[in-house]
Amino acid sequence: MNGTSTTSRSFPATAQALSEVRRFLRECAGTAGLSELATDDLILAVSEACANVVLHSGSADLEVSWRERADSVEVLVRDHGAFRRRVRVPSVEGPGGFGIPLMTALTDQLEREAEALFAEIASIGGVVRGIETGWFQRQIAQSAAAFQRQVEMGERIIVGVNEFLSDDDHPVEILKVSNDAEAQQRQQLARVRAERDNELVERRLEALRQAAESDHNVIGPMLDCARAYCTLFEIRHALERVWGAYREPVFF
């Protein structure tokens, strides 16, 4: 427990749910023995954060976590929206009015960018040619590099990664697969190979190879192979003998 306890609750990201969020916070604050002033301030701050989720995130729900330590309380508000850093001068004229034109502009821009990409794919000779020449691989590598650069330069904000960091590290349990899993799998495979009808296996693999050579549909023979307990590798190998194997070209 190391002196902390966490209570989380999910709410729909709607204006009507804000009242529920505040009631939840008041319960938590009561249990924690917070002063009235601290409780009021905390409720106002978190309520405003949740109102922003409702107004701006596009998320269907939000999660509020109350994390309590010996001398402090931390409240996390999580949503499933996209983060946008946007600074707007508050106006007396009232909220809103900017969202829709902004989204329209953004989606128009997205569509134009997609159209430009399609045109480029056509100009290099289509998708298959693009795969063969490594065009797609290069695009993905460049896009990943650009993303990483933006994150490290602080041009792209990821909450909790390069901005708005929490000063304490919350340990996350990592799934570890033991080496026994491999030994177990090998044992099972050996048992299947020993117990199956190996003559039938050979016949089915040969039928698959012939189907591949003769331009017939190979799905039926592949299913027959599986029913005879051919392994995935054996099925792959039968096809590879006829067609060869695909090697991904490496281009950067």
Partner: protein, 100 residues
């Protein structure tokens, strides 16, 4: 939930409940004819348990619109509402009166 009742003496509204995103449109609609008419508007907010920035924004809009034509009188705001008024600087409006 926000209950809104019209009051004639003094002229204004009695509010009971919470002023947030869910209820702020109702408050705006109820306040609008009074603001248009001008003069002093009394808001009995003793029963308002919560008010967020959306509520404060409605008050600011009313105060700006009423400038030189009338005042907004808030009667018996609870401590959290008084605090919001301070933090958001509403008390700098000359035509806002807060009655404890």
């Amino acid at each position: 939930m926000l209950e809104i009742a019209k009051t004639d003496d003094p002229r204004g509204l009695r509010l009971v409940g919470e002023i947030d995103l869910a209820t702020v449109d109702d408050l705006t609609a109820a306040l609008e004819p009074h603001v248009r008419e001008g003069g002093d508007i009394t808001l009995d907010v003793a029963g308002v348990r919560f008010m967020g920035s959306s509520g404060a924004q409605v008050l600011i809009r009313a105060l700006v619109s009423l400038e030189g034509r009338g005042r907004l009188v808030l009667v018996q705001p609870v401590s959290s509402v008084r605090r919001l008024i301070e933090i958001m600087g509403l008390d700098r409006f000359d035509n806002l009166e807060v009655r404890p």
